[in-house]
Structures are given as structure tokens and as C-alpha cells.
């Protein structure tokens, strides 16, 4: 398979006084899809542009396989890139756009390759259209076909879904992922949207302030965030400041049991809303009385905000299936925070 692994070693990049990348190292295996996830300004796009050679890193090395491309210009690397804006050339037809990087081949080869690529992205018959005549999703596929036409070993995606509306987005995420898997092409994708990252990535690198906070599979990122930033950025969460009390954690007037960890002197406990159990049918650990405040219907689930009686003024969230709602007529409820679901951060 004509694909390649990617290694980043201690990449640094500063714009004036602003440190955009502060020692980023990543290994992307051949055929893997990795998402660079983070808030805007975290350096993820800069990192992608360094891989592409569109920015030159101040320090650090970049390897495509065992080839050191750190100082090579973009043309000498071997990758295809899909930009946020797609950057389709408006004055060229779809066929001319896709064939743009194929100069030097015979006319017949180009024609055949363009047809092959259009078939691949499911836009057969659109050869003579102009980008302006296509929908956003179709434009994205043309841009993808153009990036893949010269058969690069690496595919870079810069916020590919941000110009699309939500409905199209989810569909195209799945389609892009299927295509990537069938081609087996190593892919790095930048996004600020955690849903996209969860949906598509083999592994996610969560980036903040130019550093990799965590590099793991989507499941690990969600279940066991490595840092408070990751916990906060990916999904919703409850935070409870605590002080150590023997093996337990004391939160206000409450004593919470933890699972298999001896906590630091003081810090914060973290718990996902869906891990909170409301009115359990049998006894659970860390069961407290609480007052329900508000219920928000989100369609497939409900979000509930409440305050523990022993911790007034501190609103917490729980999420549960709508079927569970009828049991919650009264504002007085019982809430369990299972020890396994409590994660400790300093």
C-alpha cells in the first residue's frame, strides 16, 4: 500500500512573541486517521501547515516514513491537502481542477485519472461544471478528488467540514472516513469540533497552547481525560473541589469514596453527567439527597441540573434517557456519584 507513517519530533514555532507550537511530538502510523483537536488559536492549524511545508517550523523534525522532510519546500514533499475553503479554482472546470496537479502526464492519462477520481468521490458526469455550480458538499468532494489525484502518500484535512451545514456534515464525515479507510491513506485532520473528531479519528491529539495535552483513541480521551483541559474541552463535566480525608475526598460537608486511587492533598473531582445516577433503585456508594433545578430536553436525552443539599449554590449536571423522566416528579431527588466515575485532578 502506497502510504506512509508520519513522525513529528519536538516541533516549535513562534510568531513574534506568540508561541504557536511549543514542542509537539506525534507519531502517526501508516493508514491511520489522526485528528488534531483544540480551540481556535491552539496551534493545530499551524501544525498542519508545518507538516505541509506552508510554514517553516523554528525547531524540530518532520519525517514522512524515514524521509526527513523538515526543510523541504511543499512541492518536494508528497501530500494532498484539503483546505477549509476548498480553494477550488473558480475559473477552471471540475475536470481541470482535478487534473491541475497532473501536468506532465499524457492527455489520455489525465482524462482517465480524472474520471477515476470523480467516480471515487461519486460525482461522475460533473466534469464540465464549474465549482460555483456545485453545492458545498460537492465542492468538498471535488477538492478531495483534486488532492488525491496525484496519488499522494499523505492526506491533510484543514477543518474540512466547517463550511457545511450540520446535516450534510455528519453524512460527509462518515463518507470521508469510509473513503480514507478504503484507500488506507495516512490522514491528519484539523478540527475544533469534538463530534467530528470522535466520529472519524483512530486517534485524537488534543492540543492547547501549542502543546499536545493528550494523544489517544476517542474512547480513552472521553473516558479517561489526561488533563483538566481535555476533560473540559471534550464533552460536558461536573467539577467538585475537594480536600483529602484519609482514603476519601471531602467536598464541602460531604465525604466521597473514590475507586482505587489515593488522592493528592487537594484538587478537583471530575464526573461525566451521564455517569450520575438519579434515584437509584438500590443502594449505591456516594448517595446524596439533592434538589432538582431545571430539566432541558435534548431530544434523545434529558439534561438535569441539581444542587446537592449538603453543597448549596453549586449546580451540577446529569444526563439520562427521557424514559427515566416520569420518575422525577418531585424536586427532592437522590443522586449517586459512583466512585468508578470520579476522576481526580490536581
Amino acid at each position: 500500500m502506497a502510504t506512509v507513517s508520519l513522525q513529528l519530533r519536538d516541533i516549535h514555532k513562534a510568531f513574534g512573541a506568540f508561541q504557536a507550537l511549543d514542542g509537539v511530538s506525534l507519531d502517526v502510523s501508516a493508514g491511520e486517521l489522526v485528528c488534531l483537536l483544540g480551540p481556535s488559536g491552539c496551534g493545530k492549524t499551524t501544525l498542519l501547515r508545518c507538516i505541509a511545508g506552508l510554514e517553516r517550523q523554528d525547531g524540530g523534525k518532520i519525517f514522512f516514513g524515514d524521509r526527513d522532510v523538515s526543510t523541504l519546500p511543499p512541492q518536494a514533499r508528497d501530500y494532498g491537502i484539503l483546505f477549509q475553503s476548498y480553494a477550488l479554482f473558480p475559473n477552471l472546470t471540475v475536470a481541470q481542477n482535478i487534473g491541475y496537479g497532473l501536468a506532465g502526464n499524457s492527455r489520455e492519462t489525465i482524462r482517465a485519472r480524472v474520471a477515476e477520481m470523480l467516480e471515487l468521490v461519486g460525482l461522475k458526469g460533473s466534469e464540465q461544471k464549474y465549482p460555483g455550480q456545485l453545492s458545498g458538499g460537492q465542492q468538498q468532494r471535488v477538492a478531495l478528488a483534486r488532492a488525491l489525484a496525484p496519488a499522494p502518500k499523505l492526506l491533510l484535512l484543514d477543518e474540512p467540514m466547517s463550511a457545511l451545514d450540520a446535516r450534510v456534515r455528519e453524512h460527509l464525515c462518515g463518507e470521508l472516513r469510509r473513503l480514507q479507510k478504503s484507500l488506507g491513506i495516512t490522514t491528519v485532520m484539523v478540527t475544533h469540533n469534538q463530534d467530528e473528531a470522535m466520529l472519524m479519528a483512530d486517534r485524537i491529539a488534543v492540543i492547547n497552547h501549542g502543546r499536545v495535552e493528550q494523544y489517544a483513541t476517542p474512547q480513552e480521551i472521553y473516558r479517561a481525560p489526561a488533563t483538566p483541559f481535555v476533560a473540559e474541552f471534550v464533552g460536558q463535566g461536573n467539577w467538585l473541589p475537594y480536600e483529602r480525608d484519609g482514603e476519601h475526598a471531602r467536598v464541602g460537608a460531604l465525604n466521597l469514596r473514590l475507586h482505587g486511587v489515593r488522592p493528592a492533598e487537594r484538587g478537583r473531582l471530575f464526573c461525566r453527567p451521564e455517569a450520575v445516577v438519579i434515584n437509584p433503585s438500590m443502594h449505591e456508594d456516594n448517595l446524596f439527597s439533592a434538589q432538582m433545578r431545571e430539566i432541558t430536553y435534548l431530544g434523545n436525552r434529558c439534561r438535569l441540573s441539581f444542587e446537592l443539599d449538603a453543597l448549596p449554590g453549586h449546580t451540577l449536571l446529569a444526563e439520562l434517557a427521557p424514559e427515566a423522566m416520569p420518575r422525577l416528579a418531585a424536586p427532592d431527588i437522590w443522586v449517586a456519584l459512583p466512585p468508578r466515575s470520579l476522576q481526580v485532578f490536581v
Binding site: Q75, G80, G104, R113, G132, A147, A151
Partner: protein
């Protein structure tokens, strides 16, 4: 689907390494641009400064001569005249142009395209043409002479002539200042019960006052450095620009000319600096989410502005019509029968050769100038920023701040130096082309930059990732998309070269005499009919070329409609 990647097409065959070609294009182009700008802009200006301060005998330069010149009563009189004329013209033209621009942009006056076309007429002819028309209208033998107590020669002649000459310049600045309006602000104002006058004071005026200032400075600078109008209708009322012209052309007093040139450079530099400062402060006045303002009809307002527009256009048409008419009259005012005998140009040494020279100059200036400025703008806008691009940016801004008169003087001093290896160019059409391009460089380049900035910033990155050489990308994608802007630049340069007098008047030789200069010379020699005929010829040529290019642009747009209609994203 896996076999897709097996039939791998060749990428980057039969070319030299794309990287090398790109570097040659970018860096070679940038360095070439730098050399050209230094030769055509920087060195001539430095030569002028040096001339002004060097005290060679008989040249009227040097510090002693400067002290003497600036201390003399004559100089103070000239300076006072120049300032009075320029301030008066600006005070008349700017409010009028504001009202005109307001009518075009913020009211529902009918036939806006027509009024706009008429208002731009003065751009198509040399600045001397209004002066000539004024002589036929209000001169000693003018048709409307009886309306005035005194003849037109003098202060008011210059003011009216300059007002006509500078009107379209001020109008263009103000039209674009009034072009941007956020409809949401006006909706908010009217929902809060603000009167139209209040809305104007609190929304329109703050948004456009920088344009008013810029227009004021532009008119002032154009006036104070122009000598075309004063030479024709000035009479005994002398101004500084004319004095510089006479010092160099008449008396060979290069040093004296340079000193006056430096004085004339001051207001231009001052207004340029202030304008830049204001512009920096007033950035982001329009947010990206603004909604375009479309005026609602209002009978009283529209009627009032229609009157302003009609009167202005009538005056312009009257003046230009008079110039054309007078060029056709056999012998003013004794034989008013029509004939084309003024168009024989029998008194000119070369006859029609002068007109052909002008066509050649305008054509070369337009073609080479537009290619140079557009490519230059591309190399500045779409490449990595470096000290070199910063230097180029700065240098290409200089011509905007330098009046043509000053640039022309600089060329005389620099290319006329005996030791200069480029001395051979002096007097040739080649140098005239170079000077004209340099003179009008900034506006052309700004137009190109504005067009280029509208293109997706990732186009070049996409081309790089596809291993397409930048030059090929430039020719295949950038140029075709920007063709309308390129035609705009072509038109601007052609018309400017056709009508310019100020810089080239110091540089021509008998072989390279130009039509616009011939107008001045014929008028000077008392052949006003011939001058009117040549002006008319220039006017018609400029108008024809403008219409032709506008038509070509429209045709191109229509042909490319398939992709242009939605090329925004």
C-alpha cells in the same frame, strides 16, 4: 477501491524542480522590481534633492540661493497665490463633489450611470482643455464675455479651470467613501425616531469624513502642482508650479526649479502622511456582517439632488462642448463657419506624428505598466513577507505622494547627468514611458492588490501542494480571474498617459513630442484653435479606448458568467 492508488500517475515529470522555478519567479521578480523602482522613482527624487542643494553657478540652487529665493517678496507672492487658489478650489470642489457623490450613492436620482459618465469627462482630456474652453466662453472675444465685468484671465479663471480639472478626482474618492454603508445602522436610527438630518450627522458624516479629508488633500495637491490651467488662463496671476516650469524649461535654472519642486512636494507629503494616519485609525469601520444600504425614494430629496447633478453636468458639458465646438470653427470670432482645418496641425513640425507619439506612449504605458504592476502586486501579496517586500511596498507608494511636476524635474536631473549610463534614454519615448508608468504606478498597483486580496489566500498553497509551478498558476488561474481588474488598470494607464503633461513636459525631444504637450505649445504660440483641436482629439481617443475596454470587460464577464456568478467563495 484499493487499486485506485496503484496506477499512480507521474507527478512533476519533464520540468526542472518546481521549487527552483518558483524561487526564480518570486525572488527574481522581486529584485527586478526593486531595481526598476530605484531607477525610476528613488534616484530621480534624490537627484532633485541634490540639485536643489548643490550650488552650481548659474543654476539657482544651493543654500544661499535657497535663502534668497524663499526670502524674496516675489516668492512669497507666488506662494500666497498658489495657496489661495488651491484652498479656494478645494473649498468649492469638495462640497460640490460630496453632494454629487451623495446623489449617486445615497439617493434615487434617475440615470446615475449617465451622470457619472459625464462627471468623469475631465479625466479624459489634458488639464489645459477647461482653460481653453474658458477663453472661448469668457475670454476677451468669448461668447459669454458680457456676463462678466472683467475678463476671465487671472484668479477666477484659474479657479474655475482647476475646479473642472479636479472635480472627477474628488468625486471618485467621495463616491467610494460613500459606497460603504451599513443598512442596519439606518434602520436602527429611524426606529429610534431620528430625522434624516440627524441620521446623516451621526452615521453618514462620521463614515465619510475621512474621504472628505482625502478629497480635500487630493484637490489641493493637484491644484498646487498643476501649471496647465495657469499657463492658459492665468494672465498676470502667477503661481509656483508655473514658476518651476518656467525656471527649468525657459531659463535652464535647474537648481531654482528643484527648490520650488521641493516646496511643492511638501503639501503632498503632508497630506499623504495624515491620510495614512487617519486610514490606520479608521480601519474596520464596516463589519463583515454589514448589510448593503439601498436608498428609499424620497421625492423632495431626490429632486433637490437631481438639480445639483443636472447643473454640474450641464456646466461640464457646456465647457467640453465649447472646446469641441471651438476646434471646428474656422476663425474665431470672425468666421464661425465649421471646418476641420484646425485638425491639419499645419503649424506643428511633425503634424499628426505628435498624435501617433501619444498613442504609442499610451499604448506602451498601458501594456507594460499593467503587466508590471499586476505581476508586482502578485509578488507582494501572495508571497512570504520579508524585508524586501516591505521595501517594495514602501517604494511603490512613493509615486502617489510625488506630484508629476516634481517627478519630471527629478527625471531631468537624474537622466540628464552626463555621467549617467542611462543618459542615452534622455528625450526618448522609452524614458517617457518609464516616467509615465512610475508617475501612475501606485493607483494601478493598489487596484491590482485589491483584486488579488479578494482571491482565496489558499490558492497558492493548493498549487504548491499539487506541485504546480507558481508562474504557471499565476497565468492559468490568477490572471484569468483578475482580468476585469487588469483591464481597469489598462484603461487607467492609457487615459492617464494620453492626457498627462506635468511630468513628461520636461523630458520630450522634438522627435518625441506628445499631443498633450503640443496643446500647451500651440496655445502658447497663440494657435488656440489648434490647441482645442488636439485636446478634442485626445478627449475622443481616451473616451473611445475607455468604452472599448469597458465593453471588452463586460463581454468577458458575460462569457465567464458560468463561474463568475458564484466565484465568491
Amino acid at each position: 477501491m484499493e487499486q485506485v492508488l496503484l496506477g499512480k500517475p507521474r507527478a512533476g515529470a519533464r520540468r526542472m524542480p518546481a521549487d527552483l522555478a518558483d524561487r526564480l519567479f518570486i525572488h527574481g521578480g522581486q529584485w527586478l522590481l526593486l531595481v526598476l523602482l530605484i531607477l525610476a522613482v528613488l534616484l530621480p527624487l534624490l537627484a532633485m534633492l541634490w540639485r536643489g542643494f548643490a550650488s552650481e553657478p548659474g543654476q539657482g540652487g544651493g543654500l544661499t540661493a535657497a535663502a534668497e529665493l524663499f526670502g524674496s517678496a516675489n516668492f512669497r507672492w507666488l506662494l500666497g497665490n498658489s495657496l489661495t487658489v488651491s484652498l479656494t478650489v478645494a473649498a468649492i470642489v469638495v462640497p460640490l463633489a460630496y453632494a454629487f457623490a451623495y446623489a449617486l450613492q445615497r439617493t434615487c436620482v434617475p440615470a446615475k450611470g449617465l451622470w457619472r459618465g459625464i462627471s468623469l469627462l475631465p479625466l479624459l482630456a489634458p488639464s489645459i482643455l477647461p482653460g481653453i474652453a474658458l477663453i472661448y466662453l469668457f475670454g476677451n472675444q468669448g461668447v459669454l464675455r458680457h456676463l462678466l465685468t472683467d475678463n476671465i484671465y487671472g484668479f477666477w479663471g484659474i479657479v474655475i479651470g482647476e475646479a473642472i480639472y479636479t472635480f472627477p478626482h474628488a468625486l471618485m474618492v467621495l463616491v467610494s467613501a460613500l459606497a460603504l454603508a451599513d443598512a442596519r445602522l439606518f434602520d436602527a436610527a429611524s426606529s429610534m425616531g431620528a430625522s434624516p438630518w440627524r441620521a446623516f450627522r451621526s452615521i453618514t458624516w462620521p463614515g465619510s469624513r475621512q474621504g472628505v479629508f482625502a478629497a480635500f488633500c487630493l484637490v489641493f495637491t493637484l491644484c498646487i502642482t498643476d501649471f496647465g490651467v495657469p499657463v492658459v488662463v492665468g494672465g498676470d496671476y502667477q503661481v509656483l508650479a508655473l514658476e518651476a516650469y518656467k525656471a527649468v524649461v525657459g531659463q535652464q535654472q535647474f537648481g531654482r526649479g528643484a527648490l520650488i519642486g521641493m516646496v511643492l512636494l511638501l503639501p503632498a507629503l503632508f497630506s499623504f502622511a495624515v491620510d495614512l494616519w487617519l486610514r490606520r485609525r479608521q480601519r474596520e469601520a464596516m463589519s463583515g456582517r454589514a448589510q448593503v444600504y439601498h436608498p428609499h425614494p424620497s421625492r423632495r430629496r431626490d429632486l433637490a439632488f437631481l438639480v445639483v447633478v443636472l447643473l454640474t453636468c450641464a456646466a461640464l458639458l457646456g465647457v467640453f462642448g465649447m472646446a469641441v465646438y471651438s476646434s471646428l470653427v474656422k476663425f474665431w470670432p470672425y468666421d464661425l463657419s465649421l471646418s476641420l482645418h484646425h485638425y491639419a496641425f499645419a503649424e506643428l513640425p511633425g503634424g499628426w506624428q505628435v498624435y501617433r507619439n501619444s498613442l504609442l506612449l499610451a499604448g506602451c504605458t498601458a501594456v507594460f505598466g499593467s503587466l508590471l504592476t499586476f505581476t508586482g502586486a502578485y509578488l507582494l501579496e501572495k508571497t512570504r513577507q520579508s524585508p524586501l517586500t516591505q521595501a517594495l511596498r514602501l517604494l511603490s507608494f512613493v509615486p502617489m505622494a510625488v506630484p508629476g511636476l516634481v517627478l519630471g524635474l527629478g527625471y531631468v536631473f537624474f537622466f540628464n547627468l552626463p555621467g549617467n549610463p542611462l543618459h542615452g534614454l534622455y528625450g526618448s519615448l522609452t524614458l517617457l514611458v518609464a516616467c509615465t508608468i512610475a508617475h501612475f504606478l501606485t493607483t494601478a498597483q493598489l487596484t491590482a492588490s485589491a483584486a488579488l486580496r479578494q482571491l482565496d489566500g489558499e490558492f497558492e498553497a493548493a498549487a504548491l501542494s499539487l506541485k504546480v509551478p507558481l508562474l504557471r498558476h499565476f497565468l492559468r488561474v490568477t490572471l484569468p480571474i483578475c482580468l476585469p481588474a487588469l483591464l481597469d488598470i489598462l484603461r487607467y494607464l492609457f487615459v492617464s498617459a494620453m492626457t498627462t503633461v506635468s511630468a513628461v513636459i520636461f523630458l520630450y525631444s522634438p522627435d518625441s513630442l506628445l499631443a498633450a504637450i503640443a496643446v500647451l505649445n500651440m496655445d502658447d504660440a497663440g494657435n488656440v484653435g489648434g490647441a482645442a483641436a488636439m485636446s478634442t482629439l485626445i478627449l475622443l481617443t481616451s473616451a473611445a479606448v475607455s468604452l472599448l475596454l469597458a465593453g471588452a470587460s463586460r463581454g468577458l464577464l458575460r462569457r465567464a458568467q458560468a463561474w463568475r456568478a458564484t466565484a465568491g467563495h
